[in-house]
């Protein structure tokens, strides 16, 4: 050996790392390509939520509200909710499991990306699709019916961001309880079912015993629906208007925080980077 540390091209002593955004986008881009190439996942991510919303709108119900603008707002609220379940929660669970079983997560752990970065990158395509669906549906609603009122956009933004964070965390936690990408349908079903049923737009909670509503208020999708309603200033099924006042959104925000914390705990408890041997 004649190479000395000072002349070696490799002998730098400071670690040079790629920017966080660059690392994130590299992984998210690969995930997006994989989503585009997986027909089942693509259907679930792009078409399932609009189809389900179409079903709920057709069935109708007093959730939709009295006028065209309210109907558009309610439709967007449903779309956000179902997208969080299908595009963010179910889709992310499946892809984290698939990458784990393919030993891709194991490989990524040998690189420079941190664990939170890897998971955030994997959640990005689903988040982007959710946003795109909302924007497209909002524009379509405005053109076909009437632009939805946006009384307090900050609550809507919180519903989108907070809801995405909660369901992404729950997805990663669920991935640890899921052996194969195929069985993700089973392991994600309980949460999807309960959250959907008690979200506020599938069952008429105001017509049910109080206790049902009280339980529902602490399920993970409920705060998303409530915050979105306060964002839109929706006329609620009981006739009152979602005020957007802090005291009216305190409980849903608390609920989001609780589920966020449960999500973090679940990730720490169950998330695995390698298949179980």
């Amino acid at each position: 050996m004649t190479a000395t540390p000072t002349t070696s091209p490799n002998a730098g002593t400071a670690a040079v790392r790629a920017g966080r955004t660059r690392r994130l986008l590299a992984l998210a881009r690969a995930e997006a390509i994989l989503l585009l190439r997986n027909k089942t996942a693509l259907f679930n991510a792009v078409l399932l939520a609009p189809l389900l919303v179409g079903f709920f709108v057709t069935v109708g119900g007093d959730f939709l509200g009295p006028d065209p603008a309210a109907m558009v707002a309610s439709t967007l609220t449903m779309l956000l909710s179902i997208a969080l379940l299908m595009v963010v929660y179910y889709n992310l669970t499946t892809s984290v499991v698939a990458r784990r079983e393919e030993l891709v997560l194991k490989r990524l752990r040998t690189g420079e990306s941190t664990a939170p970065e890897i998971l955030l990158a994997y959640a990005l395509p689903g988040f982007a699709i959710t946003l795109a669906q909302l924007v497209l549906a909002g524009v379509a609603g405005a053109l076909l019916a009437e632009a939805p009122p946006l009384a307090r956009p900050h609550w809507l933004i919180l519903a989108v961001l907070g809801g995405t964070a909660v369901f992404a965390l729950l997805a990663v936690a669920s991935s640890g309880l899921t052996r194969t990408a195929e069985t993700a349908q089973l392991t994600t079903m309980p949460l999807i079912f309960v959250a959907l049923l008690l979200s506020g737009f599938s069952l008429p909670l105001h017509l049910m015993p109080d206790v049902v509503g009280q339980v529902a208020a602490w399920t993970p999708l409920y705060p998303v629906v409530t915050l979105a309603q306060h964002g839109f200033g929706t006329v609620l099924p009981d006739g009152t208007v979602a005020s957007g006042a802090l005291r009216d959104v305190a409980q849903p925000i608390a609920c989001l925080i609780v589920w966020g914390a449960l999500g973090v705990a679940g990730v720490r408890r169950w998330m695995r980077w390698e298949p179980r041997r």
Binding site: M1, N10, A15, V16, R22, L27, R99, L103
Partner: protein, 319 residues
């Protein structure tokens, strides 16, 4: 070696799996130092603890006891300082099946601080012509080469190769060796595990042989081989030449000769001296030595001796 800067230091390193009654200690107190620019090979049978040891050095898993320092840092706790300066080729890591070779490389490229260009990396491992092919369509050997391409992409100062040539055809194996040699020439430090002793003999500046979680031999290939005896084997009907006590009187014989159904086996520290004396005796007795075989000590023999559990306690680690 003209440089003596140590880039990896292990002291009393232990790693256990599980707790209580099910606990298993895979690495049982390893001391090791790797100098900058050398190729250090870690050999051992399956289950000897090589991968468990490597994972601690790579910062993938924490040590249970003892210390590990890589480039002056704790590779597990100070991962962000060390990891960008390492390249890691795991024994078993996967790719997303539906990405192409180039897309996979581009993904990895985007996560690195100062990467080599994607095209250059694929060319280094001879995969340029497979750039547009889905990873799921690559052969096992091609995937192994893509593994290698990703490991070297970040211009690592220390490159970890865990069985890098398993599954490669002889030609690809030679090409991989050439690549490793060119990286060594640039000053890269390489830590290699392999099942091919020929590979270690070909590439290693120093090596260590692990058995049951401990390093039982270490040094240069010559050092390790020198600690092993040469061997003479034959069959004969001559009684004097099958009598262990008689044979023990031959010069340089290092252990009591063994005789059995498969013939006579003599171990010697000086093959020429023992063999000459043996042949003279045979000549004088007019005996015929059938299947006569004289083999010098080899890394393979040293390895097999250790793998069979012999010699594990006989000769302490030279490091």
């Amino acid at each position: 070696m003209t440089t003596s800067e140590t880039v990896i230091t292990l002291t009393g390193l232990r790693r256990s799996y599980g707790t209580g009654r099910t606990a298993f200690e895979a690495v049982r107190g390893v001391d090791l130092a790797v100098a900058r620019g050398e190729l250090f090979a870690l050999l051992g049978t399956n289950g000897a603890g090589k991968t468990s040891l490597l994972e601690v050095v790579e910062g993938i898993a924490p040590a249970t006891a003892g210390t590990v320092e890589v480039l002056g840092h704790d590779p597990y706790r100070q991962r962000h300082q060390v990891r960008p300066r390492m390249g890691i080729m795991l024994q078993e890591a996967g790719f997303p099946a539906d990405l192409t070779t180039a897309e996979t490389a581009r993904m990895w490229h985007g996560t690195l601080g100062r990467p080599r260009p994607v095209e250059q990396c694929l060319a280094m491992v001879g995969l340029s012509h497979r750039a547009g092919v889905r990873v799921s369509s690559l052969s096992g050997g091609e995937r192994r080469r893509l593994d290698m391409a990703l490991a070297v992409m970040g211009r690592p100062e220390i490159l970890f190769l865990d069985e890098p040539t398993t599954g490669l055809d002889p030609q690809s194996r030679r090409n991989s060796w050439e690549l490793v040699r060119s990286l060594l020439a640039e000053g890269t430090t390489v830590v290699l595990t392999t099942h091919y002793l020929e590979e270690a003999e070909e590439l290693a500046d120093r090596l260590a042989i692990m058995h049951a979680g401990e390093i039982v031999r270490s040094g240069t290939v010559a050092d390790v081989v020198a600690s092993e005896p040469a061997r003479i084997r034959y069959r004969t009907v001559d009684t004097a030449l099958t009598d262990p006590a008689e044979l023990a009187g031959l010069p340089a014989v290092s252990a009591t000769p063994r005789t059995g159904a498969s013939g006579v086996e003599i171990e010697t520290g000086d093959l020429q001296a023992t063999l000459t004396a043996l042949l003279v005796r045979a000549e004088q007795a007019g005996a015929v030595l059938e299947h006569l075989e004289a083999s010098p000590a080899s890394l393979e023999r040293a390895f097999l001796t250790i793998a069979e559990g012999r010699g594990a306690d006989a000769v302490p680690a030279a490091a």
